[in-house]
Each structure stands twice: as structure tokens, then as C-alpha cells.
Symmetry: C3
Subunit: 142 residues, 3 copies
């Protein structure tokens, strides 16, 4: 579920830094869902392929996120999520002088499969097992 797409300037991050950012993101979701749900894809975009205000931007990080496994249930959880991400992401983005923008879409839970399996609903026995084993496996209940 969450799929993070990170557009960043070429050379912005080393492999280790990308891994660190992916692990920071994963840590947030990993408390409440299987860690392997968290996918992060990095894509370098050069300034002449990235425009803000109609001008090429050499130092912009754009985060596009799809949430699938969970939907926000209240305004408070939305604000809490973004507030936390602000703090968490700062060492990779704001603290380096990058400008940035982030948006989340929520896509349908029942139009999603992993290894061909429909993931279990939150709080079910199957999800507990998926969390424990950190991998997809056949469902034992509908």
C-alpha cells in the first residue's frame, strides 16, 4: 500500500541516503501494517524536465503518494500524519535546502493485490500473520 514516488534532482541522494529515507518512511507505516506494504520508488528528474511556476527547478523534491491499505478517519489523523512526515523527512529535504511538495491520494482497497493475493482487512488474523512473517500468503478467511 503506500506507494511513494519520489522525484528528486539527479545526484541528490546516494544509495545509502535513499535507503535511509525509505526506512524512515517505512517506520511510520510499519507500526500499523506489514512493512512489505511500503514501496518507495526514486526517480531523478533533471531541471529541464521539472518545472515549477513554468521555470526549470534544479532543487525540487516532489512526493506523490498512493494510500491503499488505510484511509484517514479524521482531520486530526491527517494533520498528525503530515506533521510527522515534515519532521521525519526534514534531514533529506528541507534541511538540505530543497523545496518540496507532497500529496496523497487514497485509492480503492479492493482493487489491490500483492503476489496475486487480496490483502486482508486491518485487524484480522491474516493481517497479523502477514505482519509477523512480513510477506504475503494465502488468506485463511474471506
Amino acid at each position: 500500500m503506500p506507494l511513494w514516488k519520489v522525484y528528486h534532482p539527479p545526484g541528490a541522494y546516494t544509495g545509502d541516503e535513499k535507503k535511509g529515507l525509505a526506512q524512515a518512511i517505512t517506520s511510520v507505516y510499519g507500526r500499523v501494517m506489514p512493512k512489505f506494504y511500503v514501496g518507495v520508488v526514486f526517480q531523478a528528474v533533471s531541471a529541464d524536465n521539472a518545472y515549477i511556476s513554468g521555470e526549470p527547478h534544479p532543487a525540487f523534491v516532489r512526493l506523490c503518494v498512493d494510500h491503499i491499505a488505510r484511509t484517514f478517519q479524521s482531520d486530526a489523523t491527517k494533520v498528525g500524519f503530515f506533521t510527522r512526515m515534515n519532521t521525519l523527512l526534514a534531514p533529506w529535504i528541507a534541511d538540505r535546502g530543497f523545496e518540496w511538495e507532497m500529496h496523497v491520494d487514497e485509492t480503492p482497497f479492493d482493487l489491490w493485490t500483492i503476489q496475486g493475493y487480496f490483502p486482508p482487512r486491518a485487524g484480522t488474523e491474516d493481517e497479523t500473520r502477514w505482519i509477523a512473517e512480513n510477506r504475503a500468503s494465502p488468506r485463511t478467511h474471506p
Copy 2:
């Protein structure tokens, strides 16, 4: 309408294999809508740009699909679609040992144009012509 984005490991597929996969996907939709609605974009993502569980993953295929022309009308059709895709995609994904995840979003029908034309509704005379000619052309009715 359906736009399939396929993130895959570099070198996972030859050009012919990509074409084969695109044709398999197209065959499913092509029974009920113009074949030229089906777009498939492949993008190679190296392991240090693709993280699952916060770890680089060298053998992961991630399918991101936007459905525009049709929305699923029942749980049965949703399950049927994914079950069929599992079987259809296996030779390119599961059978090669790739791990994979797929999700579909449904986006607004009336915020979509092809060659500048708003596509006709399902079952209309215009759609029948678009299917027969496999190209967009001026609408003859609203």
C-alpha cells in the same frame, strides 16, 4: 483509458516480451472497449531506486493502473478482473520469480480526452464506431 504503468527491474524484459505483455493486457480490455484506449508504459527501476520494507529490491514488478473508461460495478467483477490478471500476467511475472504488487485507481470519466475528443459513453453508436475503426473521431451525438 486503462493506463498501465509497469515498474520493472532493468533488463527484465526484451522489447518483444514487453510487447507480448502489452498485448496480453490489451486483449482483456479489447473485448469491451476500443483497443487504442489501452496504454502501457514500461519503466526500468534499478534496485537502489526501488525499496520494499525499506530494503532495495532487485526483482520487484509494480503495476500501477488507472481505469477511466469503466468502473467496476460489483465485487464479483473486481475479483474476476484480478483473478484473470493473475493468470494472464504469470508468464511475465510470477513464473519468472519476480515479486509483484498491483493496484488500480478509478479516475473520472468526464476528465479524459483522446486526440482532444471526449470519448463516447459505453454502448453508444459512437463507441461502436471507435471500436470498429480503432481510432478516435468526432462525436456524432452528445
Copy 3:
């Protein structure tokens, strides 16, 4: 807010042409919202990575747009938007013989931040300031 993703054939556009297209797009939104809301990302996709009807397509431009700051309030505004974009984009797309498709999704306003700030609602004092300064700054009202 609007994030435009432009998939295009390799070599379709020079840097100046991309900038021109980005500025044309920005001009439409810039009348009613801060110009820096407008992001345009270009991505070259070679024919063997871009399939329409299951065939590689060497001359296809695919525009994927996320609208966040505003949602269309009527059918008339939807048609007006696309009609205007058709005209505006023609010099970069239709007039060059490219085939093209475009779709817009509308994603949640309250799941979106710029520089860590939740953008102000349309018509507020804060938005007026963001427009005037063309940059994000702390909100002065909720």
C-alpha cells in the same frame, strides 16, 4: 497542485520547448491560484516502452494530471477546461503530428502540503498573499 506528468517520445522537445509548454500550462492555472502550485514533469519514453493497442508507439504524448487545489464545479467548467487545453497544447502536440491522450484525477485537498504547509483555501487572505509572493509561507488563519 496541478501536477502534470508528460510522457513524450525521446527528443520530442528541446529544453526551451518544454519550458514553453510548462509556461502555457501555468498560464491557465496562474489566473486563479499561485503559479508555484503548477508542477510539470517531463519523461521521455521510447517506443519500445510505450504501447497503445498493444503496439509500440513512437509518436504518442500522454498527459497525466493530478488536480488538488481545485475541483471542477460543473460540467461546463470541465468542458471549458479541456477545450482550452486542446487549443493551448496544439502547437506542442497535435500540430506536430503526435497522437495524444490526457486524463485528470482529483485528489484530496487536505492531503497535500507545500514546504510543509497545508495550502490555504481558495479566496482566503493567505491565498491572496501566496499568489502575490508566489511562494509558500506560514498560515495566519486556520
